[in-house]
Each structure stands twice: as C-alpha cells, then as structure tokens.
Point group: C2
Chain length 199, copies 2
Amino acid sequence: MSTSERLIESTRELLWERGYVGTSPRAIQRRAGAGQGSMYHHFAGKSDLALAAITRTAEELRAQAEARLGGPGGAVERIAAYLRREREVLRGCPVGRLTQDPDVMADEALRRPLEETFGWLRERIAAVLAEGVESGELDRGLDPAATASALVAVLQGGYVLARAAGTEEPFAEAVEGALGLLAARAAPAGRPGPGAGRP
Amino acid sequence: MSTSERLIESTRELLWERGYVGTSPRAIQRRAGAGQGSMYHHFAGKSDLALAAITRTAEELRAQAEARLGGPGGAVERIAAYLRREREVLRGCPVGRLTQDPDVMADEALRRPLEETFGWLRERIAAVLAEGVESGELDRGLDPAATASALVAVLQGGYVLARAAGTEEPFAEAVEGALGLLAARAAPAGRPGPGAGRP
C-alpha cells in the first residue's frame, strides 16, 4: 500500500473510532507509519485527508446499499435485505456518527458527502417503495419519500440505541419493528387488510 | 446560581455542543466563570461533572417524554404528540449524541444513564402501544416492544439525517413516515383494513 493509501485508510479507521474532533494529525501519522512531512506532501492538512477518507467511506456505503436495493426480489424483500444486512452495529455507522462531530458540521466541504450519502439513500429506498406501490405489492396510501426517510432513520437511530445499551439487540429490534409496520402495508387492493378476518 | 450549579449547566451545554472528547476541564471552567480549584472542590474531575450533567439532561428528557406519553388521548395521539413535540433538531439529541463519543462509551458510569434513558423510553412507548392494542385502537398483530424501538430509533436517526442535510426537514419527514406506518395499524377488528374498499 502506498503512503497516501495508508494515510487515507488510517484516517478512516480513526474517524470511525474517535471522530474528527478526537483525531489528531499526529495520531493519523502514527497509525499510518508516516512522517509529518510525508503527510503534508500528500495532503493539505487534516481536513483534506478527512475529506478523502469520508468520500471513500460514503462510496462503500452506497455500493453496499445498492447491492441489496438493486438486487432481485420484491420491494419489501429488497428493503428487508438491506436493513438486515450484517453490520458492525456497536461500532456505529462510519458516516452517520460524523454528524455528531461539531467540526465536521462546521465545515461545508466535510458535511457535503454526508448530505449526499443520506440524500441518495433516502431517494433510492423511496424509489424501491414507489416500485412496490406501482406493482401493487404495497398499498397506494403509502408515502414512499416519508417512509424511506423513516427507514433510514431507523438504521441510524438503531446504532444509537445499540451503543447506549452496549448490545446489538435494540438495533435488531428496531429493524424488525420497522419491517413489521412496513409488512402491514403489503395489502394489495381486493384482498382484505389486517383485522378484516384473514384466514 | 451557585458555582456548582454553573459548573453543571456549563458542562451540559458543552457536552451538547462539543461532546465529551471535545470538552476540556478548562473550557468548562471558562464558561462557568469558575477557577480550577473551585471545580475540583465540587467535583472529582471531568467525568464526575459529566455524570452530574448527563444525569440531569436525561431526567429532563424523561420528564418531557412523560408529559406527552402520559397525557390525554388515544395511544397513537399521545405517541404523535411526543414524536412531533418541538425540538432543537439541528443541535441533535443531548443524550443520543453522547453514544458517538468514544470516551463516554468506554466509561461504564457515563454510559449507564444513556442505557437507562433509552431503555425507559422504549418501555414507556411499548406500554402505550400495548394499551392501544388492548383497547382495540391498534390491531392485534402489532408488536409493541419492536414498534417502540423502531419509533425511538426514528427520532434518534432523524437527528442524524437533519444534521447531515443541514435542515430540519428530514427529521420531520421521518417522523411523519413513521406515524403514517403506525396509522395504518389502527384498524380495529370488524372494520375493513386498508385497500379493502373503504368509503
């Protein structure tokens, strides 16, 4: 791995573990096994390096989401596959956690990739839900955009609840709770809805 | 206000703005207008002071939640009142944001009030949902515990999405999306569910 690569990967790890405020240029250099001169040869400073790290992490998150959301199956099935995919729950979301970092929020260039990533994710899930409504899999009363925002929020809030509890359980429970609510909207016209005397 | 009070209130503000890692004893003393000797006279150190601050913030969060969840009205109405209550969305949740702080997570005494607060909130909302199922307001297929975790996660994740976007809109959208899903479960037995030819 090149020095520049090692610096980016070390920054990604440290941002995930310690956040931006908690990560010093010194700590990055130490983890990357790179000198100060070498770091400033490749990057203008901590924020430039953080931008490269955040951009890469955001790209990975999108690719992982697209693998499930663009996969085979119905709308609910693809969304369930995405929500239930294996995650390092107790480490938190490497993108979402940065929104709690005051210095990231104060720097437009660093906040931008967070905005784009979650904007993309909400739109992508809304499009899958709209497909489901269109095909008759989901009932016509469902609001795809609002529902998509709720589902993305469940994931991000699930990390918060899991970290607070010190166990992954609340994350899994929140995901199943959301999928339970979504499943109840899977009532195509003509078939009786919940509580209407299903066999 | 006594010096000890000023120290606690200053710590609460700084934890909300900067997090625990980003808050130095020095910054607390400066904001409280208290000297170092005075701070260590009242508190053993930064973590002792943070515990007092977090405990108080957590108590306020509970009281605000209980005011809506224990108020008048049906289950869905009370939950909607709680989810929609006025919040400083872009500042984030003063309790939830601490779960992204590595030094809070590493200190059992500081993590404990976060665990208790969210544990209490999930149980309180689950109890309101269970009342709604019991009274026939919500359909019997609803899982109160899982749904409650999903709703608390929507709030916490809503803060994340709003901060990422730099606007409150995604928070409000996620809340309305969740309430839309919940409203669809309000189908008492005997009445037709969604899609079953409502007038």
